[in-house]
């Protein structure tokens, strides 16, 4: 089982979160230092602009989870006194569920955002290269990533844009397709209009800025990478522009029906898109009755955003269901894993005994056997070992998965086997090697 300790946009303001940002230079030392602590066996760090989380596993199984969490907490809190109060810690099943939700972007500031999955993958890759992940995280992270991919492919949680500026740009694409080279006119200097203009500029459009205050227009044009125009040129600029983004503080219409209708002939029927982000409105609504003229005001755009958010909310429910199923599957796997140390130890004990007896026989009474006969004998012993271990393996796994008390508890069975076979602690068992998942191993024979 794992622990997750960290802080996020839910628990800490940006002033605190930025204290915990670890650069690529500092990260290796941080993770290595943490995993060198006696209670922490494995660790990786998920670091995004909205969260910093340590995902860790202990060296000595579930009992030590609290100690692992404390170690992680101390490691993170060492970056500043103000960090500690904002930290949260999840252990065991809660940590697993949290990690699944994070990777599936259900815990993100913008639910459904696609970056988080890549960031989780990157955190895993970095830790893998540094050698700070072991068998538990090696088995957990691929499941987490797979569940997040399922969420993205089986639900529409990641589709659609959810801000007014991005919706405005998306609509522009639905009218014009490729935006490269299109003329965009920014009228006024509202914050949202500026955001739309920046997105359109990013799409390769030719941007012009027009406004009543020349200094402000020049400043804005510099800032968004556009050309500044004098207010007197508004009518001619409208004739050239394919997209007009307006956001002035004027009390009445800045662009009226007559102004638009009179310039249509020069445009030779080409489509034009007006985005009115001002309140009160800058553009006379009747222009949308003209063929080839499209007008969306702030309410129209907000409506699209609201529908997208509501759709995402529905999709988030479906995503939560997938995450819940995947986390349940992980729990079953983790429960079954509790039986693994005993199974591995039992196999090692029996295998060692058989190997010893077989070697002795092959050096003694059976030394006349040729290579083929020896190989056949080894196969027979291996097969017998697998058959002997089959039933105990099944029973131990049943006991690990049982939650109703239908079979003897795992700890009793493990204890009994340890007593009966004098099972020692196995290094492989600690690393969680699962005999059921691996190929049957041949009994090594000394010749």
């Amino acid at each position: 089982m794992i622990v997750v300790v960290g802080l996020s946009h839910r628990t800490a303001p940006i002033a605190v979160r930025e204290r915990l940002v670890l650069g690529s230079d500092a990260l290796p030392g941080f993770l290595r230092q943490l995993t060198e602590r006696p209670e922490v066996g494995e660790a990786l760090l998920i670091s995004t602009c909205n969260r910093v989380e340590l995902v860790a596993a202990g060296r000595a199984g579930a009992d030590a989870l609290e100690r692992v969490a404390q170690a992680c907490r101390e490691a993170l809190a060492a970056h500043g006194r103000e960090i500690e109060p904002h930290l949260y810690a999840y252990t065991g099943g809660a940590a697993v569920r949290h990690l699944f939700r994070v990777a599936a972007s259900l815990d993100s500031l913008v639910v459904g955002e696609p970056q988080i999955l890549g960031q989780v993958k990157e955190a895993y890759d970095v830790a893998r290269k540094l050698g700070t992940v072991g068998s538990i995280l090696h088995r957990t992270l691929p499941r987490v990533i797979r569940a997040a991919k399922r969420v993205r492919t089986e639900t529409a949680i990641g589709s659609g844009q959810v801000s007014v500026p991005s919706v405005a740009v998306e609509l522009t694409r639905q009218i014009f397709g490729e935006l490269s080279g299109r003329a965009v006119l920014l009228v006024g200097s509202g914050e949202m209009a500026e955001a739309v203009a920046r997105l359109l500029k990013g799409a390769g459009t030719q941007l012009s800025v027009i406004g009543r205050t020349p200094e402000r227009v020049a400043e804005l044009a510099d800032s968004v990478g556009g050309k500044s125009l004098a207010w007197a040129d508004l009518k001619s600029a409208l004739g050239v522009a394919d997209v007009i983004v307006s956001s002035t503080s004027a009390p009445g219409f800045v662009i009226d029906h007559e102004m638009v209708a009179s310039g249509r002939k020069a445009r030779r029927g080409k489509n034009r898109f007006f985005i009115d982000l001002a309140v009160p409105r800058d553009i006379e609504p009747s222009i949308e009755r003209l063929d080839g003229e499209f007008l969306y005001n702030i309410d129209d755009l907000s409506q699209v955003v609201a529908e997208a958010l509501s759709s995402r909310s529905r999709e988030a429910d479906a995503a939560e269901a997938i995450v819940a199923r995947e986390a349940e599957g992980y729990d079953r796997w983790a429960d079954a894993e509790q039986a693994t140390p005993t199974i591995v130890a039992l196999r090692a004990r029996l295998s060692a005994a058989l190997e010893e007896e077989l070697s002795r026989s092959l050096r003694g009474k059976l030394k006349h056997l040729g290579p083929d006969d020896r190989a056949a004998l080894e196969r027979m012993v291996e097969s017998a070992l697998n058959r002997m271990l089959h039933q105990p393996t099944v029973r131990l796994r049943q006991a690990a998965l049982d939650r109703n008390g239908d079979v003897l508890p795992l700890d009793q069975l493990s204890l009994a086997l340890s007593e009966l076979f004098a099972l020692a602690s196995e290094p492989n068992a600690e690393e969680g090697e699962d005999p059921a998942d691996s190929e049957p191993r041949a009994v090594a024979v000394r010749r």
Partner: protein, 273 residues
Amino acid sequence: MQDTATIAFFLGVIAYSVAATLFFLELARREPGVRGAQWAPRVLAIGAVAHAAHIVTASLLSRVCPVESLHFGLSLSALIAVTVYLLVRKRLRMNAIGAFIAPVALTFLIGAQFVGEASAAAASLPRGLLALHIAANVSGVGLFLIAGAAGAFYLVQERRLRKKHVKSGGSRLPALDLLERTEHRLLLAGFPLLTFGVVTGALFVHRLGENGNADFFRTLLGYATWLLLAGVLFLRQAAGVRGRRATYGTLAGVVCMLLVMLLYAVRLGGGSS
């Protein structure tokens, strides 16, 4: 050979049906589906290959050049429409139009089976000119079918945007400007072919002296098609008329063209001119 023609025909019918279904499912999806979007054009291409195989084998069997017979001409025009669509689809990002082209190709492929044989009078026409007449008409029909599809999608997309029935996440339909440009370019490409078809058709009518009602309406509709499409092209060039009004003109022209094809198909006695 007969078996090959039959198998190719049925394979074409099946592939066009599956492609049409996939295109419609893709259009009906709330979110873009990568698989549907990938497979529909592929299945349509399989249908086109089977369709071509059917035309080749069936024309060899009946010893008729495909461009000298209305039977094959109808079928060939649908094949040309599908081929042009498959060629321009990626470049113009017009996947959605497959939802129109696939059913039309299916209809023409099946419909061509029910067209009558050429009249004896048609045999008196010069074979070379007749072949050019049919080839021009068939190619024009193929191009105008896609232009009509682009126009129909233009109206749907335009209405969506105008009524603000838009959803975040994009549309399955191509951008308005792209649809308008495609429609215009295909009209430009098809118009010389249509003009040639109308002129040669007028010559043939004069020579054969056909004057039944069906022939009269067919000729009238042929001229109406030419006038409408010429009007659309002229008004765009001279007065910058585009968008919805130009699309109405294009669709009216395409409907007239389809009526001409229908009259060819149903007229008693059949004929290839």
